[in-house]
Symmetry: C2
């Protein structure tokens, strides 16, 4: 299982993701911040950092210098010394990065091998909700503008608010209630894990994108939207991060506020 | 790393998934079949098996008898004795199940810790493509009929064929080319892994759903659509399975053949 104290000091992780937006990189940032793990946010820390993102998505790359296969899309995590022949390991796909980090930074349920797989299922479900949120403003074509698919977006967002949001929130509510150790504050066990940070980020994004819908759902899903959502903000590491300049505002990424798509 | 020979004999896995369709369960079946791992396909093996699927998605469940949290959706994998206090472990979410099994059934790259994370990224990317394929016939509402969203489906499928399919195939092509050990037949290393079975299943579904589009792309992505796609069919375990009655036909699941959505 996890050995956070020993491994934490050995390596500084590089997060490679678009600068200026929370996006999918935020799930990784929150896990790192909650565990007090040092990392470089390459493209936000340094103006030249964008080059690392561009190299990552080079459409002609078949492998990098260290023998890692190409990325389909950001984010990526670079781990010095953890790759083949002591070269850097490059890991892509958000849930893959989170799963890799979980054990190493102590963000999985402690001493609970089963709980580790449960936490990962919750993470994957939250990331599915993340993707579905993106589709509300891009239902027919990822590369086109929202303005070119407004009519379809209204249909998609209506279905999302009326059917998908309650389905996901109902699931989260049941998991929180079923975890009697967690007191409504944690998804698995009695301490924060990357399941908590990942679900929290999606809820936070939904509160930004669909404020009226989420406010109206608070009474229906009180454990998720009141107890859990509030308490994670107060966690060590998270609280400091959220009030720091490092926390990036939502803008034109996954979570967008188009009032016409919210509950009327 | 993986210890297939010792662990394989210890446990018979239960796959809990809808009967009669390949669906997301097929990714798990292929990994199990390719490695010669015994398993029960609960709802296909036995008429009463559907009850296990229904119990899984009971909207009132907060935990099962063994203390596992509820599932958001099928598939689930039940592992006797691997849960808390020696009870069954229930794992949900397709990539989570595959990642759990990978090590245990010898479907990860052998003796290559970095390759394990690379394989998992490829699996997650293939499953993203799987989800996007589903959205071509359900772009605005999952619970409504295709017939109620035909106009939007045509837009979505056009974008999918013109932009998304080549983007994903281009990525697969580059990974296959970059893995010099694989000879175009394997994504990571020189033996079959669950990255190969997962990508193969999505390609096979796309050949069913969009036959004209995929045929037209063969020349552009020859390693993926010719070398790789053909050779995986001949792998031990896979070959026998594909010609057996156990392999279920595509119908009204993720991969559907609507000629109007294919290349004209």
């Amino acid at each position: 299982m996890s050995e956070p104290s020993t491994k934490r000091q050995k390596v500084t992780y590089d997060l490679i993701y678009w600068p200026g937006i929370p996006g999918r990189g935020e799930h990784i940032r929150l896990a790192l911040e909650a565990s007090g793990t040092p990392y470089n946010d390459i493209a936000n820390d340094d103006k030249d950092g964008i080059k690392a993102v561009q190299a990552l998505i080079d459409p002609n790359s078949t492998t990098d210098d260290a023998g890692n296969p190409p990325a389909f899309a950001p984010p990526a995590l670079r781990v010095p010394g953890a790759g083949r022949d002591g070269k850097p390991l490059l890991i892509t796909q958000t849930p893959n990065i989170l799963f890799y980090l979980g054990d190493k930074i102590g963000m999985v349920p402690e001493g609970d091998e089963a709980g580790k797989w449960h936490a990962n299922a919750i993470v994957l479900t939250a990331l599915d909700l993340n993707n579905e949120t993106h589709d509300t403003h891009h239902p027919v074509a990822v590369m086109k503008y929202y303005e070119d698919q407004k009519e379809e977006s209204l249909k998609k967002a209506t279905d999302f608010r009326e059917n998908r949001i309650p389905k996901f929130l109902g699931y989260f509510e049941r998991v929180l209630k079923g975890n009697t150790k967690g007191d409504g504050k944690y998804f698995v066990g009695d301490k924060i894990t990357y399941a908590d940070t990942t679900v929290w980020q999606v809820l936070d994004g939904l509160f930004f994108a669909f404020p009226k819908e989420m406010e109206a759902r608070k009474k229906e899903f009180p454990v998720t939207l009141q107890t859990f959502y509030s308490s994670i903000k107060e966690e060590k590491g998270i609280k400091e991060y959220l009030s720091s300049g490092k926390r990036l505002p939502y803008s034109q990424g996954i979570f967008r506020r188009y009032p016409e798509l919210d509950r009327q």
